[in-house]
Point group: C2
């Protein structure tokens, strides 16, 4: 019998086979495996043995259907290629794995339309909860979700409405500290490459920057503030704009990691020396920050911890869906290195 495709499927066994092999009812098997009801220890043993012998894995679709909720968490990330979010995901994954949840991954690509579509799909998957970086364009939909019993947790950006837990960092303070660092170093003309207007993160970083400048009695020159898109190409263009000014800045704060990469490109293209000719402070401390010459001064955000925290918040809420919404603000840390012109490493 070697002719055709050997589809001698070692068939997946169901709870029924386990019950049969261990000589109990399927209800008992379910109780043993679910572990939420007392069962005679001897039976427990027999069931577990039978399950192991058959390599039994409960069918999650059946379980989800019956329980009306799955052991799955949806995650909607706005840009999977951004290392910041990548660390967030790893944090989420770690917690969910330990809690035996699966992770349904979606990439919204910052597109509200796509976000809505994903939200909708996740709903039809009966996910237990969703962790997302909200575009804040789908509030109505989110509300529906919450009303129908799906828990949401927002990451990084603050959602418009009070209907989910949220974990962020104190962007305003971080930006204030980063900009102040530049001021203390004696720079007078400090530029900002800001993010898009929509997300709360870029707004807050702008505010922190502005506060630092004004607090120190420096002028807030609109020419020195360029709005961009959180992407590398955008950062490149923005830096060029700044450098092209008849009176260019002595130092620049850049509002995220990808734009920093673009900014660096523009600076190198003109053979400008960092920090002598142009000092830099970035947002997000990435693996490559210390591999740059000179190493980059940057605001380190606890991306991994944001992920774990979000997952924990969600799991927690799953066990107590009625508790009031929480907002957790994690600390950032300014990693002072040489790109800002600081003396100490």
């Amino acid at each position: 019998m070697a002719t055709k495709t050997g589809k001698s499927s070692e068939k997946k066994s169901s709870i029924f086979e386990v019950a049969e092999l261990s000589g109990v009812s399927i209800a008992t098997v379910s109780r043993v495996l679910g572990g939420k009801a007392y069962v005679n220890p001897e039976l427990v043993l027999r069931v577990k043995k039978a399950a192991a012998e058959l390599g039994y894995r409960p069918n999650r679709s059946a379980s989800s259907l019956r329980m009306r909720v799955s052991k799955t968490i949806g995650v909607i990330i706005s840009d999977i290629e951004n290392p910041f979010f990548t660390s967030v995901i790893r944090g989420i994954e770690k917690i969910l794995y330990d809690a035996e949840y699966s992770l349904l991954f979606c990439n919204s690509n910052e597109d509200p339309e796509r976000e809505r579509s994903h939200l909708s799909i996740l709903r039809s998957e009966d996910v237990a909860g969703i962790i997302l970086t909200p575009t804040n364009q789908n509030s109505a939909f989110c509300r529906d979700l919450v009303n129908s019993g799906t828990q949401l947790v927002a990451i990084d950006r603050i959602p418009e409405m009070e209907l989910m837990d949220v974990v962020t960092t104190n962007n305003r303070k971080s930006a204030f500290d980063a900009a102040s660092h530049l001021v203390e170093l004696g720079y007078q003309r400090i530029g900002l490459i800001a993010g898009p207007k929509q997300p709360s993160t870029s707004r807050e970083r702008f505010e922190g920057f502005r506060d630092a400048v004004l607090t120190n009695n420096l002028p807030l020159d609109p020419d020195l503030i360029v709005y961009s898109d959180f992407r590398q190409a955008g950062g490149y263009q923005a830096m060029k704009t700044l450098l092209d000014l008849k009176n260019p800045p002595e130092a620049v704060m850049i509002s995220n990691n990808l734009m920093t990469l673009g900014g660096l490109q523009a600076i190198h293209e003109r053979n400008l020396h960092i920090p002598d000719q142009i000092a830099l402070v970035g947002f997000d401390d990435m693996p490559w920050a210390t591999s740059l010459q000179p190493p980059l001064t940057a605001v380190a955000q606890p991306a991994f911890d944001m992920g774990t925290t979000a997952a924990e918040l969600l799991l927690d809420r799953l066990t107590d869906p009625t508790r009031s919404y929480r907002k957790v603000e994690l600390d950032t840390k300014l990693m002072v290195r040489t790109s800002s012109g600081a003396k100490s490493a």
Copy 2:
């Protein structure tokens, strides 16, 4: 606010409500929505209208249970924080999204134990297929999966056994080209920071390097070959080892992106000039490659395309599970920049 619109939903509606509202049986609703049987056009219209009105989304758990396969693909990645895999994932996601599949994400962290666990979970989720970067320690398990009807596709690394499609790049040739580039530039003592022994990728890159050296009648000095772990810290240590040699290399090829970052750190620490004192060629062309000073010469791998290809291969196989296994080898491109000491940019 008395009228129901698709957007205002209190409760999830099931196929039953759609049937009721449109005055047909649930079987007909299923046929209309599934689109695989002829239904009276007029009824089709009524059903679609009702579905839209109710904001109906078929319950995927129920469907999976009944069909014994879900509209879900599992993806097991060895290191989510590596930008290379991150691009792969985006490629996969793009294709799957268009095909209306969901993506169940798993991080194996290069750990065979964890890989097995994920494989097992994915099985109990009834996933239609799995895309993975295999550790090659779970062949028996993979075979079981295939036998029970789950399609697998390997990415990047070549699996031990002939039981799945695979998409890779020609690592041997890429490494050969990269090393040859260094030879042509006139370097005599060329070092290699190699990856771990297990994955086929690092083995092949080593072979390509060796071939290039030997082909050009240069000695293959074992001192100049350091094995590491594909991680940043490992690359840092490896580069230090190389630099500490009484007779250090003039040029180094580094076998992946993260180790390159580590190597750069070690070089900067000693204030060595690139490429004058030490020339560099890396693997994987990352966003930061052009932001470095000098820009990094590197082998660009089509990570995104590898992802789309893998997903397409899988989808294709899902429609024809009996077709023979395919191996797709994508082209890489050596991006010549200044870190290798080349003249042209």
